[in-house]
């Protein structure tokens, strides 16, 4: 009879742990830095979007005052005279004339002409009456922003924001209560320690997934906010939804993977900063590891699941290029399976530790 009652009650026991944990810590002031990590990038993207929008409005105003066609702008070549440029394009919207004063180029006449077709900025550097250099600055486009987002997502958001957010959320689930001397509240309840571990993990996971997937969604929203509705619709009808869902799923899996590791770290170590540092180093050198060791990490599987490969730009330093370069990533199904296996192994270890867990506040 009692045995049946005990067996039947485990889902409600897990639910009780989740509810209590969420109530205690979801809006706790001590977790403010986690919200900053999660939502900071979205704020930066929003500032970028506002800047791009203002820049676009400025260009539109300039092109209205100084109309010029894109075709004509592309006709300008190095060596053309200042007069030819003015005849072809008319007055630039911004013009700066200098006379150089340096020892080698003393007296050299130097002019910068800026034109815009409303989308791109063209800057012509004219020295002694001839075009010496041409620079074209594109307005942001979805393809370019998508590549930038992919890089920021993989190398900042996953490796730093989600990583440290999970350190903060999951290591405190047990260690924080040891330090608060309140863990006995749970240990005096008639529940298996594995259930307590499961409840705490699911509570941490719920919090982390809500916070960080919301952070990812807000970043995407902020990033696409300044584009024309038509461009966004076309992107969404293309691979937009697929990419967004993939990014959200990767964020959630990152929380699950790192969460399992840091939950175990909070149980196994008195000072979780040490294991967090070791894990961070391990994840950072993942690209240099032999194939077998690569698989004992979280980032290896997460990168395989990212929808856009973070491609290095031409002027990226060689070491960073090496980090960014896509290794032989496994297919998606294998990446998910691999990640689940890593999580299961780590959580099993944590469950064994939880079963032997003792209250020893005096030594904390």
């Amino acid at each position: 009879m009692i045995s049946n009652e005990m067996n039947a009650s485990w889902p409600s026991q897990i639910a009780a742990v989740i509810r209590l944990e969420l109530m205690k810590s979801f809006f706790a002031r001590r977790g403010l830095w986690i919200y900053i990590l999660a939502f900071g990038p979205a704020l930066l993207y929003l500032i970028h979007a506002i800047d791009v929008t203002r820049d676009h409005e400025h260009r539109q105003a300039m092109v209205a005052a100084h109309p010029v066609s894109t075709g004509a702008l592309h006709l300008v070549r190095q060596g053309m005279t200042q007069k030819e440029v003015e005849e072809l394009l008319g007055e630039p919207y911004l013009k700066n004339d200098f006379t150089r004063s340096g020892r080698r180029r003393r007296g050299q006449e130097f002019s910068i002409y800026q034109y815009t077709d409303g989308d791109s900025d063209f800057t012509f550097y004219i020295i002694d009456g001839e075009v010496a250099d041409i620079r074209e600055q594109d307005r942001c486009n979805l393809a370019k922003d998508s590549a930038i987002f992919a890089t920021v997502f993989q190398f900042f958001y996953l490796r730093l924001a989600v990583f440290f957010g999970c350190v903060g959320i999951f290591t405190n689930l047990f260690r924080g209560e040891m330090l608060d001397k309140s863990l006995h509240f749970y240990l005096l309840a008639p529940m298996r320690r594995e259930l307590l571990l499961a409840g705490k993990y699911l509570a941490g996971l719920s919090a982390a997934v809500v916070i960080f997937t919301l952070g990812t969604a807000l970043q995407i929203a902020a990033l696409s906010w300044h584009f024309e509705p038509g461009q966004v619709t076309a992107y969404m009808h293309g691979r937009g939804w697929h990419d967004i869902i993939a990014y959200l799923a990767v964020t959630a899996l990152a929380c699950a993977g790192y969460g399992s590791i840091f939950l175990a770290a909070g149980l196994l170590f008195r000072n979780p900063i040490l294991p967090a540092t070791v894990v961070m180093l391990w994840e950072s050198i993942n690209i240099f590891l032999p194939a077998t060791l690569k698989k004992i990490s979280v980032i290896y599987y997460l990168q395989a699941l990212c929808p856009v490969v973070a491609a290095p730009e031409a002027d990226t330093p060689a070491l960073l290029k090496l980090l960014i370069s896509s290794a032989d990533f496994p297919p998606a199904w294998l990446a998910i399976a691999g990640l689940l296996i890593v999580m299961a192994a780590v959580l099993s270890l944590a469950a064994m530790r939880a079963r032997r867990l003792e209250i020893n506040y005096g030594t904390e």
């Binding site: 005990m6 001397k181 006995h184 509240f185 005096l188 309840a189 008639p190 529940m191 003792e358 020893n360």
Partner: protein
């Protein structure tokens, strides 16, 4: 036969090199049993061992036949009011008890019913919806007791349960212990205040430096207590008045203001008469904010008893 007892069979517990308890063999019957000993004697370790919060380095423990490493069964049978004053952050007194009961897997209605009953039993109804963080020590003590009794356990383990309680609540709480004991349950209480032990216990287990040095009926201890004055610290908004009133009592051998004049330290030779007098003063309108035994002299009684046993 032994399934109605709390059994320790040659139990030792070490914290690294430090001894918690050593070679403890006990068979605790139903009734009120006091674990008595100075600070660091192993009382809390013994309680943590029987509640499964720590595990023995060697030996075996059974609580009514249940091993402490089976929390599913043990914690339905045993309620433990620990010495730790911390509660999960942000909870009210009521939520602390109700959420604790939710961990048992009870439905919401049952949790509400049991939590309300336990809180009312400890006369915490009025303050139940306030945050525990704002509670006095006595109120937190009562909420801990409410959590320990809420699921109606057969074994109550209480670590210094009377600490911080005012005289009226103290006597009500002792009555609660007696009621539990009369019902054939175990009430295992730790204390370093011999007067309390004398007042409430059916039997005593005397601990010193991690060893059980004596166990048995209380009468043997009582005679020793009466020869030794008890010290009590009383906090009051009118400490001078309290001190002068107390000093009029013939059993009070000393009354002096301490802690910057916010409290009175009383030394008495008759604890029963002291508490009766304190109740009268409270009824006469002298505000009593807290009562805490600070019986330094108790150590000399232990020394006497322990020395008398000749076991160490």
């Amino acid at each position: 036969m032994t399934d109605d007892r709390v059994l320790f069979d040659n139990v030792s517990r070490f914290y690294g090199e430090v001894l918690g308890v050593n070679r403890v063999t006990l068979s605790i019957p139903p009734g009120i049993t006091s674990l008595v000993g100075p600070n660091g004697s192993g009382k809390t370790t013994l309680m943590n061992l029987m509640s499964g919060l720590v595990r023995p380095t060697r030996g075996q423990i059974r609580v009514l036949g249940i091993p402490p490493d089976d929390p599913q069964r043990l914690c339905r049978t045993l309620g433990y009011s620990t010495q730790f004053d911390a509660f999960p952050r942000g909870l009210t007194g009521y939520q602390s008890v109700a959420y604790f009961l939710r961990l048992f897997g009870f439905d919401q209605a049952k949790c509400d019913r049991l939590a309300t009953a336990a809180i009312e039993r400890l006369r915490m109804g009025e303050a139940a919806n306030r945050k525990v963080a704002g509670y006095s020590k006595g109120m937190r003590q009562r909420i801990k007791l409410a959590m320990a009794i809420a699921h109606d356990p057969r074994v109550l383990v209480l670590d210094e349960p009377l600490n911080g309680l005012d005289p009226l609540v103290r006597s009500e709480t002792i009555a609660l212990f007696r009621e539990y004991a009369a019902d054939g349950r175990h009430v295992i209480v730790s204390s370093h205040v011999l007067h309390e032990v004398d007042q409430i216990s059916d039997q005593v287990i005397l601990l010193s430096n991690g060893y059980v040095v004596a166990e048995g009926q209380i009468q043997g201890v009582r005679g020793e207590i009466q020869d030794h004055p008890m010290q009590v610290l009383i906090r009051s908004s009118r400490p001078s008045m309290l001190a002068s009133k107390m000093f009029e009592q013939d059993h009070v051998v000393e009354a002096r203001l301490v802690e910057d004049g916010t409290a009175v330290l009383i030394k008495t030779r008759d604890a029963n008469r002291f508490y009766r007098a304190l109740n009268h003063l409270a009824l006469d309108g002298i505000d009593i904010e807290g009562v805490a035994p600070v019986d330094d002299n108790v150590n000399s009684v232990y020394e006497y008893l322990i020395g008398g046993e000749g076991s160490r």
